[in-house]
Each structure stands twice: as structure tokens, then as C-alpha cells.
């Protein structure tokens, strides 16, 4: 129990904090004022994860955590890295929300409760090593995010986005659940390690051994099991791909992103994505990516992800090109960014050793995923934050036209937005450059030069629409008489922007160090994921 609380500290903090927030919200006389405590809660969770970082390097602690979690959750540096990313994304978006909701007269306490529980769900999803836990985490975060999407109750758009997200999300969750059920049916395990090991073993059928046709029977059983497993894997991939908004499961994103209040959009774009990619990392690489076993690459999921990655990049970028709303452009570009991350996934199962990086090709690719998530979190929160700051009630900055001439009206906001947009476009020395660079590098190392080329070409397309934001702000004047965005004044958002800008710059200035942390996280994740059940008892043997 004590161990459980210790190793789960980030999640525990968020849950207890969430309940406290509920009570405070229920009993306080006036709405509002919860943003800063919620953000602090997230930052406390991040700090807790940071404090646990050394423990995660310690074998004794890892073993104790494994016993305490009973195989449901992983306590390792991958989890902690993702926890930090999630908590950071959640905390920063909460700070944005504080000013945004007040400005737009949406201030209601449940926003903070929802976001806190959703963050806890994200952490559960990111750390899950059991399909049931994975599903619980997914649902916890999803329910919170559905509600956040529909938070503007009076806006039909918001309601529509939320409903669509909910319906399709349920569909996707059903796919995931169906895949999980099939995996359980085929292996008798819900824990990932158990599934992996069961898939590695041949089907046993001792009861009929020696009977006529028994060998044939076993062969058929084997065939059925492997075929069903492969299809189950596809279902699981589809369920998770929905959450990251990858093509062809992306259709909900523009509606939901546009309908949601902007801080919630930022939250969906960064935090939910981080959690879902974390789960993908565990399921695909942990279960199906073990190159040493016969279950490796079950049916070529890398081949599948190549398509998802390329399609996501291409469609995300091309449709983003055509948008006239900046918010919608950011939504589509987040699909494209998902594609870049998926490109790193494709090469992740390589175990060949890598020149100079200190890990295998696969580890460096997985580290590239983690680094990208962190980079995308800070850059994107900043971009959304600047977009929020650029508008005020009734004069929101939504379309490119709203931004025209902002460079003259409010140079500081324009500068901030330009900076984050440059990072998203991948310009050095911002972190966006190194995030993409790592992905491209791992693709080349793993022998997928054309995939690297696809990333490069798509980044170039991306530069076009990102730069358009800057062109609008600095080189165009607003149409006479048009409604134009009036920047609001908000110390909270300004502070958030300064903090994120600092992080974008710091990560860009010391990419090696942070990439090193990511690599360390991945390497130390290898231990629990690869731990054979021979030395650790199967967690929930039925």
C-alpha cells in the first residue's frame, strides 16, 4: 500500500487534488479562482515524477513497484517522462484556461476538475501495462475530454464537436476493447508481458496428445491463434490511432478542436496525444515489437504504421494548407505532427546497434517519440496560448484575417506567436527543429530513407502555412471595417507564454541533454517491458 502510494505519486496527487477541487467547487460561493491551484497540482505531479526519476533507475525500486502495481502499471522512466510531459501540458493549459474562461464568461469550476481527472487518466494510460488498465485510463481521460469539448454549453458548435467526438470515441474504444478481448481469448492474459510471452510459446494441447490427428489439430489451433492475434493487434492499433487523431481515424479532430474552448483544444492536442502515444509505445513495442521472439512485429505493424504516418502527414498538412481558420489549421497540423511521431514508431523495433547514440536504433527512435512529445507539448501550448492572448471576448483571433496587422497592433503577442509557430514549423534553434531532426535521423538510420524524405517534404509543406501566420501578422493590414482580434491583457497567459518560450528555447539550446533524458527513459523502460515472466511471476495468472 505504501509502495503503491509512493510509486503512483503523480497520479495520486492528481486524484486527491481532483476530489479536493470538486469539494471546493461545490462549496465555494463564487465561481473561479481554481486555475492556479489546478495548475499547481499539475506542477506538483510533475515535480513528483521528477523526484521519482532516480528511483526508477534503481532495480530494487523497480521490483518493489512491480509487486505493488501487480502488473497493472509500469513504474519506469518512460512512464515518468510521459507523466512529466502530461503534467506540464495539463498545468500550462490550465493556466491558459484561467484567463480564457474568465475573459469569455465561461468560468465554471468543473473545467478544472475535469482536466485534473483527465490528466490522471492520461497518466494511467501512459503507464498501463495491462489491457484493462489501459482501457480504464483511456476511458477516464476520454470522458473528461468529451465534457471539456462540450464545455461551451451555449455554442452549437461546441456541442456538435463533443457529440461527434463522443460517438466516434465510443466506436474507437469498442474497437480497442474488442481487440483486447480477442487478445485475452487467444492468450489467457490481459497483462502485456503475459500476452507477449504467451504469443511466444506454441499452443499446448496436452489432453489429446497421442490421439489421431492431434498434431494437425494443434497446427490448426496455432494458425487460428496467430491469425486472430494479428487481427486483434490491428484493432488495438486502430483504437489508439483514433486517440492520436491519425488518418483515417482523424475525422473527429477538426470538429472537436474547433468546437472546444481553446485551452481544451490545446489540452487535447498535446496531453491526450502524449498519453495515447505512450500507450502505443508500450503495446506495439512492448508486446509486438520484441524482435527476439516469434511474436515480433505481429503481421508487420510497422508496415501499417508507415501508411498511417504518411497519410497523416500528407492529409494533415494539405488540408491545413486550405484552412482559413488558424485554430482549425492547428488542428489539422496536429494530425500531421501525429504523422511525424508515427514515422518514428515505424523504425522503433530495430535492435541493431546505433553509431554514436549509445543505444539501439529502436531505442533512439523511441526516444525520438518521447522527445517529440515533449517538444510538441511546449510549442503547441505556446502557440495556442498566443492565439488566446491575441483575442478578447467577442474579438477572438480565429482566422488568418483576424491576425492581419497584429504585428503592429500588439508586437509582443505577434512575436510570441511567431516564435511558437517557428518551433512548430521546425526552425532551428527552436526545439521543433530537433524534434523533427531526431525523427528523420532515426528513419534514415533504420533504412527508411524515403520515410525520412516524406517527413522532410511534409515539413516543407508545413512551413508554408506556418509562415502564412507570420506573413499575415507582419505584412498585411486588416481589411477596413473587418472585425479584428483585439489582444486581451492577461498576466497569467503572458507568464505561461514566457515560460513555454523559455522551455522551447532551452530545449532547443540543449537538445542533447533532453534527448539524453528521453533515451535514458527508453533504455530503462526496456527492463520491465523485456522482463521475462521466468523471473517475475505472471501478474494475474488466472
Amino acid at each position: 500500500m505504501k509502495d503503491l502510494l509512493l510509486y503512483l505519486l503523480p497520479i495520486v496527487i492528481l486524484f486527491i487534488g481532483g476530489f479536493t477541487l470538486m469539494l471546493v467547487d461545490a462549496f465555494q460561493k463564487e465561481e473561479g479562482g481554481l486555475a492556479v491551484p489546478t495548475a499547481m497540482l499539475h506542477f506538483a505531479a510533475a515535480a513528483a515524477a521528477l523526484a521519482l526519476w532516480p528511483y526508477a533507475g534503481n532495480a530494487a525500486d523497480l521490483a518493489r513497484a512491480q509487486v505493488a502495481f501487480n502488473g497493472w502499471l509500469a513504474f519506469d522512466r518512460t512512464t515518468l517522462f510521459l507523466d512529466i510531459t502530461i503534467a506540464l501540458g495539463g498545468g500550462l493549459t490550465t493556466l491558459l484556461a484561467g484567463s480564457y474562461l474568465a475573459e469569455h464568461k465561461l468560468e465554471r469550476g468543473e473545467f478544472y476538475t475535469l482536466i485534473t481527472f483527465a490528466s490522471a487518466g492520461c497518466m494511467m494510460l501512459a503507464g498501463a501495462t495491462d489491457l484493462i488498465m489501459l482501457f480504464i485510463g483511456l476511458e477516464t481521460l476520454s470522458l473528461g475530454v468529451y465534457a471539456l469539448t462540450g464545455f461551451r454549453r451555449t455554442s452549437a458548435r461546441s456541442q456538435e464537436g463533443a457529440l461527434k467526438y463522443f460517438l466516434l470515441g465510443s466506436f474507437a474504444a469498442a474497437l480497442l476493447l474488442y481487440g483486447s478481448a480477442l487478445l485475452y481469448g487467444m492468450t489467457g492474459h490481459t497483462d502485456l508481458a503475459g500476452i507477449r510471452d504467451a504469443l511466444g510459446r506454441a499452443v499446448e494441447m496436452p489432453a489429446i496428445a497421442g490421439q489421431e490427428g492431434a498434431a494437425q489439430f494443434v497446427a490448426v489451433q496455432q494458425t487460428v491463434r496467430d491469425r486472430v492475434t494479428i487481427l486483434a493487434m490491428v484493432l488495438v492499433v486502430a483504437g489508439l490511432a483514433f486517440k492520436v487523431g491519425s488518418v483515417p481515424f482523424h475525422m473527429w479532430t477538426p470538429d472537436a478542436y474547433e468546437g472546444a474552448p481553446t485551452p481544451a483544444t490545446a489540452y487535447m492536442a498535446v496531453t491526450v496525444k502524449a498519453a495515447a502515444f505512450g500507450a502505443m509505445l508500450r503495446v506495439l513495442i512492448g508486446v509486438f515489437g520484441d524482435t527476439s521472439g516469434p511474436a515480433s512485429l505481429a503481421g508487420g505493424w510497422p508496415g501499417l504504421l508507415v501508411w498511417l504516418a504518411v497519410l497523416s502527414m500528407l492529409i494533415g498538412n494539405l488540408v491545413a494548407l486550405a484552412q482559413s481558420s488558424v485554430k482549425r489549421m492547428l488542428a489539422y497540423s496536429s494530425i500531421a505532427h501525429g504523422g511525424y511521431i508515427l514515422a518514428a514508431f515505424v523504425v522503433a523495433p530495430r535492435a541493431e546497434s546505433l553509431a554514436g547514440g549509445g543505444g539501439s536504433v529502436g531505442q533512439s527512435a523511441a526516444a525520438a517519440v518521447l522527445f517529440y512529445l515533449l517538444a510538441y507539448t511546449v510549442s503547441n501550448v505556446g502557440a495556442f496560448g498566443a492565439l488566446i492572448l491575441a483575442g478578447s471576448r467577442g474579438k477572438e483571433a480565429v482566422s488568418y484575417e483576424d491576425l492581419a496587422g497584429l504585428g503592429k497592433r500588439h508586437p509582443a503577442v505577434a512575436l510570441a506567436l511567431s516564435f511558437f509557430v517557428l518551433s512548430l514549423a521546425g526552425m532551428p534553434p527552436t526545439v521543433g527543429f530537433f524534434a523533427k531532426y531526431n525523427v528523420i535521423r532515426s528513419a534514415i538510420e533504420a533504412g527508411y530513407p524515403w520515410l525520412a524524405l516524406a517527413v522532410v517534404i511534409n515539413s516543407a509543406i508545413g512551413v508554408y502555412y506556418y509562415l502564412r501566420v507570420m506573413v499575415k501578422m507582419y505584412m498585411h493590414d486588416p481589411q477596413p471595417g473587418a472585425v479584428r482580434a483585439e489582444p486581451m491583457s492577461s498576466p497569467g497567459i503572458s507568464l505561461t507564454l514566457i515560460a513555454t518560450a523559455g522551455m522551447v528555447l532551452a530545449l532547443g539550446m540543449m537538445p542533447q541533454r533532453f534527448y539524453g533524458y528521453a533515451l535514458e527513459a527508453v533504455k530503462l523502460a526496456a527492463a520491465p517491458i523485456a522482463a521475462a515472466p521466468a523471473d517475475a511471476p505472471p501478474a494475474n495468472a488466472n
Binding site: M1, M22, L23, A26, G213, Q216, V220, Q221, V224
Partner: protein, 140 residues
């Protein structure tokens, strides 16, 4: 009708003679399935073919306690019903969860006790929240 067996056939077909497994393991299930389909089909078709058919307008209108039907088919219900239903579901599940806990109370020991109370506390907070927010009040 042939869809499910065909699918399963497709799923299990191998180079070697694979029909063995179908007979061997899934045979009873398919037999059961076939039996159920036959019986259900038979009952319905018998009723359709053998039963006397003598429709009149009065017989075809929806039956509503003898009085004529009014209004549209889709009635909008107050959202309050849903709220109440949701709360009911939550506490329903709580009750379902409490039964096995109570049955195993002895063997779970203190840890089980604490865990259940954490669960109950969480639900209580939710209840308090709903209460304070006015979700339990019908007239607002």
C-alpha cells in the same frame, strides 16, 4: 445465414486439411446455433403461414389504452431524467461492487477495508458534489 461459418472457415483454412478442427471443437456450438436458428425460424414461419390474417384499420393502429393517439412519435424528455438515471447507474454499480466485497470481507482484511472505503469516499464526494450543484433537485 452462411456468413458466420464462412468467416470462420476463412479464418481457419490452412494448407493442411483444417476441417477437422471445426468438427472437433466448434461443432457443438455450430449445432446449437443451427438448432436455435431452425427453431426460431420455424416458430415465426409457422405463425405467419398458419395463423389467420384478417386486418382491419382498427387492428392496425397503435394500442394506447383504448384512447386515440396524439402527438409526434419522438417525445423530448427532460434532461433531469437522464441525470437521475446516471446517478442511479453509479450507485447501482456501487451496490454491485459491494456484494462480492462483503462476501470476501474476511479474506481481504484491512487492506480490502481501506480500499473499499477509498472507493466509497470517492463516490460520496461525487454525491456531495451533485447535491451541492443541484443535480438532485427536480424543481429548479
Amino acid at each position: 445465414m452462411q456468413l458466420v461459418p464462412t468467416l470462420i472457415q476463412a479464418l481457419t483454412a490452412v494448407d493442411t486439411a483444417g476441417s477437422l478442427s471445426l468438427r472437433y471443437q466448434y461443432g457443438p456450438i455450430f449445432a446449437m446455433l443451427g438448432f436455435a436458428l431452425v427453431v426460431a425460424g420455424a416458430v415465426f414461419s409457422l405463425a405467419t403461414f398458419l395463423g389467420p390474417k384478417n386486418p382491419t384499420p382498427e387492428k392496425l393502429i397503435p394500442y394506447e389504452s383504448g384512447s386515440p393517439t396524439t402527438g409526434a412519435k419522438h417525445v423530448r424528455l427532460s434532461v433531469k431524467f437522464y441525470l437521475t438515471a446516471l446517478l442511479f447507474v453509479v450507485f447501482d454499480i456501487e451496490a454491485v461492487f459491494l456484494y462480492p466485497w462483503a462476501a470476501l470481507y474476511q479474506s481481504l482484511g484491512w487492506q480490502g477495508f481501506v480500499e473499499m472505503f477509498v472507493f466509497l469516499a470517492a463516490l460520496s464526494i461525487a454525491l456531495i458534489y451533485c447535491w451541492k450543484k443541484g443535480a438532485l433537485e427536480w424543481e429548479t
